[in-house]
Amino acid sequence: MFGLTSGYTIHIPETGASFNCKPQEMLLVAMMRLGKKGIPVGCRSGGCGVCKVQVQQGKYATGKMSRAHISEQEEQAGFVLACRCQPQSDLVITVVGQMRKATHRNEVSSSTAE
């Protein structure tokens, strides 16, 4: 797609989903464009933990995140809150938080409501 030249490709191997994240954009914002029904976007401010993911590969910057949801150990292991994660390269991620139910669902928003 044309958009790929100005951003990074985010890949979720478990679901086969690939999508674009614009430069400077937060990972969560890009994930919301996946159009999955009922992605439970929470506080969008690093506090509630709803959008927890693990980055398997790639570079990224993070903002402040609640230690109640991302421990120091987890941070070392690539766990982040997507609302506070800014990709700096293509990423391979696993969805681990409450979002998992929505991102792993098959239907997209144009299909019938759940």
Binding site: G38, P40, C43, R44, S45, G47, C48, G63, S66, R67
Partner: protein, 309 residues
């Protein structure tokens, strides 16, 4: 009406992840005024129309949420009497010395059955609302953003709702204005709205499996127009909105919910009704819960119900 005992919500201490971003949010966007700082890095704020020195304290921390919220009582005698009553109820009490929070007298701190830390205090320094007390103007011309008038109440999530309601009504003299019941014959109470004065609520409590969680800290506006203006500020500065503007069936408030830069939920709202001690208690049932919470679209909202700090 003579108001005695517990007078009103006095202050709330909120944990924030990024103080600079939080000050922009609470001061520039919401319109609170900074009144002091201390050597723990805490920043003291108040709504413009509050007379005591502060009502909101922001503390830098690595998890968001509420440290404690406090109620002001009418005298030191009441403070001492209620301290004993809380002990008799079985609460563990901590006395905090005057000056532990700047400009605030001694505080009696206790943990409620839902796991939250509450405080009572009788004295706080007077700073005024900036209008003077002799021939005052009715409004200030130097306010920012949403221009919130005052800190109004907290809504807290925790496990032992029945115990907390008992404590607030039987020990501290609150009255339950409204409640939500579910289950067979409405046998399980899941929410309580409690007043210590003439507002529909000074504290709201909701049953939740985890102890000690914060749902929101609420600030008062005076009109629907001001609520819509607050929403305009959220749009302009991309403050994440949770829900609204809308109306609650419960307490009748017209409201908008949003998140601070640490994920703590805030509310700005207007309207309600005046509560007198001889008014009947209102009950909301499970089948009408959608409209009780969001009166316009009558739909429950997963994020509103489940996201807490």
């Amino acid at each position: 009406m003579a108001m005695t005992g517990v007078l009103r919500p006095g202050h709330v201490q909120i944990r924030v992840l990024d103080m600079e971003a939080s000050l922009t949010h609470y001061i520039e966007r919401m319109g609170l005024l900074e009144t002091d700082r201390d050597d723990q890095g805490r920043v003291y704020l108040k709504g413009w129309d509050e007379h005591d020195w502060f009502s909101v304290v922001l503390r830098p921390a690595d998890t968001p949420g509420m440290d404690f919220t406090a109620f002001k009582v009418d005298s030191v005698e009441t403070l001492n009497r209620l301290e004993q009553s809380l002990k008799d109820f079985g609460c563990e009490i901590t006395r905090l010395p005057a000056g532990d929070l700047k400009h605030c007298g001694e505080r009696v701190s206790f943990i409620s059955p839902m796991g939250h830390t509450f405080e009572l205090f009788a004295q706080k320094d007077y700073i005024g609302n900036g209008l003077g007390n002799i021939n005052p103007h009715p409004w200030r011309e130097d306010l920012k953003g949403m221009k919130v008038h005052r800190f109004d109440h907290c809504l807290l999530y925790g496990d032992d709702l029945d115990g907390a309601v008992k404590l607030f009504t039987e020990v501290l003299g609150f009255q339950q204005t409204e409640k939500v019941v579910v289950g067979p014959g409405g046998s399980v109470q899941i929410a309580s709205f409690l007043t210590c004065g003439m507002k529909a609520h000074d504290l709201a409590l909701i049953r939740h499996e985890e102890k000690g969680k914060l749902h929101h800290v609420s600030f008062l506006l005076r009109s629907w127009e001001e609520v819509l203006h607050a929403a305009d500020i959220m749009g302009r500065y991309k403050i994440p909105i949770d829900i609204g503007p809308t109306r609650h069936g419960i307490t009748r408030g017209r409201t908008i919910y949003f998140f601070d830069p640490s994920g703590n939920r805030n509310e700005t709202f207007c309207d309600s009704y005046d509560w007198y001690p001889d008014h009947p208690e209102i009950t909301w049932t499970e089948d009408e819960l959608g409209g009780a919470i969001f009166y316009h679209d009558q739909q429950l909202n997963e994020r509103f119900l489940s996201v807490v700090t």
